[in-house]
């Protein structure tokens, strides 16, 4: 009976798609935070110090 199949399938698919979106969101933020946690590389602190001194 195809109709029963559909009824059984649809909540499952909805659940999967929500799970997938949640996982993508988590991974995206984790990937981003990974780079944020690297802090400020020396080259940028040096660059801003040089710019600052030039203007003073």
């Amino acid at each position: 009976m195809p109709q029963t199949e559909k009824l059984e399938e649809s909540p499952n698919r909805g659940r999967l798609s929500r799970d997938i979106q949640r996982k993508i969101g988590q991974q995206l933020r984790a990937m981003y935070t990974d780079v944020v946690n690297e802090g400020v590389p020396d080259r940028f602190a040096d660059l801003l110090r040089r710019l600052d001194e030039k203007n003073k």
């Binding site: 798609s17 997938i20 979106q21 984790a30 981003y32 990974d34 780079v35 944020v36 600052d52 003073k56």
Partner: protein, 179 residues
């Protein structure tokens, strides 16, 4: 000159987020660092155009985003001349970034059109509101919302096989624990 010291401090504070945004946009840490450097130089040279009291971070993101878009268009023209060398590089971002664990996600991101990619990162990772993201991308709030939705859908398509499997395994475990 205290105003200038404040400027420098605010820019320093923004660097980690600017790098994360840049590498999510271009998939290459070296290029991301160059984008951030160029952003800082431009911001410094145009300090006058920053309106005190507004969001400094959003201002810097706007500069970075505009610079990336200009670069992107320039590179696309170069690719047309140089038979796909850049497209080839795009397929192996994990080799460029050193962040192997997110290789698949980074690769999938690079398959999104840039307007969807930037919208998704700004809202989904940088933590900007739809309104702020719309201002950064100079478009309507509704446009940002639809770009984010399309980006999410497309990423799900690209990553679904692996994630479906993971989700199934997790669910199985939950059910087994519950029984």
């Amino acid at each position: 000159m205290p105003a200038q010291d404040d400027m420098r401090e605010a820019m320093l504070t923004a660097v980690p987020n600017l790098r994360a945004f840049a590498v999510s946009l271009c998939g290459d840490m070296d290029r991301a660092n160059d984008l951030v450097q160029e952003t800082l130089l431009r911001a410094w040279a145009h300090q006058d155009s920053f309106e005190p009291g507004t969001n400094m971070s959003a201002w810097l993101f706007t500069i970075l985003r505009n610079h990336f878009r200009t670069e992107y268009r320039k590179r696309r023209r170069e690719v047309e001349d140089a038979d796909g060398g850049y497209a080839e590089r795009l397929t192996s971002p994990e080799a460029q970034t050193g962040h192997v664990e997110f290789g698949e996600l980074r690769e999938a991101l690079l398959h999104l059109p840039p307007d969807q990619r930037e919208a998704l990162i700004l809202v989904g990772a940088s933590g900007f509101s739809y309104e702020e993201a719309a201002r950064i991308c100079e478009c309507a709030v509704g446009t940002i919302k639809s770009r984010v939705n399309r980006a999410r859908k497309k990423l799900a398509e690209l990553l679904t096989i692996e994630l479906e499997h993971e989700a199934e395994v997790e669910h199985e475990l939950l059910i087994r624990r519950a029984v």
